[in-house]
Amino acid sequence: MMEFLSSTFTSYVALVPVTLAQSLILAFVVMGIMIPFRTLHFPDLTSEGAYPLGGCVAGVLIAAGVNPALAIVAALLCGFAAGCCTALIHLRFRIHTLLAGILMMTMLYSINLRIMGKSNLSIFGTGSVFDWAPFVTPGFPAAKIIIAGIIGAAVFVALNWFFKTEKGTAMRAVGANPAMAEAQGISVWVSTIGGVGLASAFSATSGALMVQSQGFADVNMGLGILINGLAALMIGEAIVGKHSVFRQLLAPFVGAIIYYQLVSLCLAAGMPPPDLKLATGLFVLAMLALPSLKRGRGGAPAREKFRE
């Protein structure tokens, strides 16, 4: 028993830096999931397609000798366009947001294959943004932690500022109450398209960073990313809360860091990797079911109109 614990602990600790680097990169996907789900009340699945889209775009560009930072910008723009399409499909044709997301991610799979021309592409040995980390040897996890951390901090500060500006407050209002937002002169279309586009841009950025981190792009790299992101988001929200802009924006980062450490711990303890998705799915289900279980019998009550 003691031996099992100590071997688990040793292999877990050895993985901590790598996992931390990975979680800081994937925090952007979690952010890309949080913004539609929480801020816009637009349950969105585009990230499952936008993440590999970002990876494929960045992979192809870097393989062609483009500056890695520029490759990230290109990936970001492609992700933004993908998100805009999802929002547009929903708004223009009144198709459910989830179905619009499924349509988009299915179509993106083909597009991603077309972009790369094959199902995976190695960019091993070419330059990456992680080579520019100060003070550390390129290629080590520390470099990735520093670069992803810097970008993450910048994104956090920028979003925390934006959502408190007049425009940002208006965007949050669209998520909180679209009818009221419209009656207050806010264009639901502009806010929704812009917001979902922004979210997918983050997912694509994450993909572009991941490709540079792991040295290859793969069309299947997005498989299950959404449910991982949701699990991370829920952990983050359980820890830091979600009732202020600051907390809501912090949740994806905290959640991503803790979630991937937990995954790493499970793997170190000998959990077979194929079981991971089942475990994650059950975890998300449990988190979603918790409020209903707490209430006791009978499931969800009829929606309360308002308090008096």
């Binding site: 934006f162 408190k164 500006t165 007049e166 425009k167 940002g168 407050t169 208006a170 949050r172 209002a173 909180a176 109450n177 009818a179 009221m180 937002a181 419209e182 009656a183 207050q184 002169g185 806010i186 264009s187 639901v188 009732h243 109109k305 308002f306 308090r307 008096e308």
Partner: protein
């Protein structure tokens, strides 16, 4: 000034349950006038209000505000000129946002939103002052999420949000109907004070005949998508609840006879 010119709206057109909600309805409200709309369920009151706010496109006819044709202007652009208080307190406010944030959204209704910080110190003190008029203590709860307020508090907040910035037209959609009598009086009192003080052109829909008698310059009774009766000026001062209800009963008698 609000002008509705031969507005027509048919629901379920061409189907067996076709319903004419607005039947070439025309109505003019002068600048600064306070019109009170009454009528039985299905008379077209809500459809008319939705047509004016832009939430429901007309089949035919025109809506003009201060002489400008806004018939094809989308809701969010009309909001530059129109403020609205809904019947359901849930609808008029953003529940998950704070009192101050809701006030900010309302203040920006007729302005273009910028990348400047929304809630600055000047705005916060202004909101404090405007909310203190209500006497509900909302001025000390600027950072409270609106979902934690009672229905009456939310509706009072909606009202303050709507009258701020002196809209060209104020639409009140049975805005006291969901409140208990005491709170309803409180909200109604605040409404009348604000409308009088700011000389707002106001269109109020109500089922409360006493309110129709007590408030406003003109009573407009709708029936089957048309203006059935208008009582204004001197005559309005002499009207009683009983007289108004008479007009309702005439209609139901007619229905009985017609049946």
């Amino acid at each position: 000034m609000l002008e509705i010119r031969s507005a027509r709206k048919t629901f379920y057109k061409g189907q067996p349950d076709e319903k004419v909600a607005l039947d070439d309805l025309s109505l003019t409200l002068q600048t600064g006038e306070f019109g009170v709309v009454i009528g039985s369920n299905g008379a077209g009151k809500s459809t008319m209000l939705n047509a004016v706010s832009g939430a429901m496109p007309l089949d035919r006819g025109q809506i003009l505000i201060n002489g400008d044709d806004v018939t094809n202007t989308p809701v969010h652009k009309r909001a530059m000129r129109i403020a609205r208080v809904f019947q359901d307190p849930m609808l008029g406010t953003a529940a998950s946002m704070t009192v101050a944030e809701n006030m900010l959204l309302a203040e920006l209704r007729s302005k273009s939103r910028t990348f400047a910080r929304g809630l600055n110190a000047k705005r916060l003190s202004d909101y404090k002052e405007r909310l203190s008029i209500l006497g509900l203590g909302l001025e000390n709860r600027l950072d409270t999420r609106v979902e934690l307020l009672s229905g009456g508090q939310r509706q009072s907040l909606s009202l303050i949000m709507a009258v701020g910035g002196s809209p060209d037209l104020l639409l009140l959609d049975e805005h006291t109907a969901a409140l208990d009598p005491r709170t309803a009086d409180l909200v109604m009192g605040a409404t009348v004070r604000a409308v009088d003080a700011l000389k707002l052109t106001t269109l109020m829909v109500t089922h409360n005949m006493q309110h129709a008698v007590d408030y406003g310059h003109r009573v407009i009774m709708l029936d089957a998508g048309k203006v059935k009766l208008e009582i204004g000026g001197e005559e309005k001062a002499g009207v009683t609840v009983a007289k108004l209800i008479d007009h309702f009963s005439v209609k139901s008698d007619a229905m009985l006879l017609g049946a």
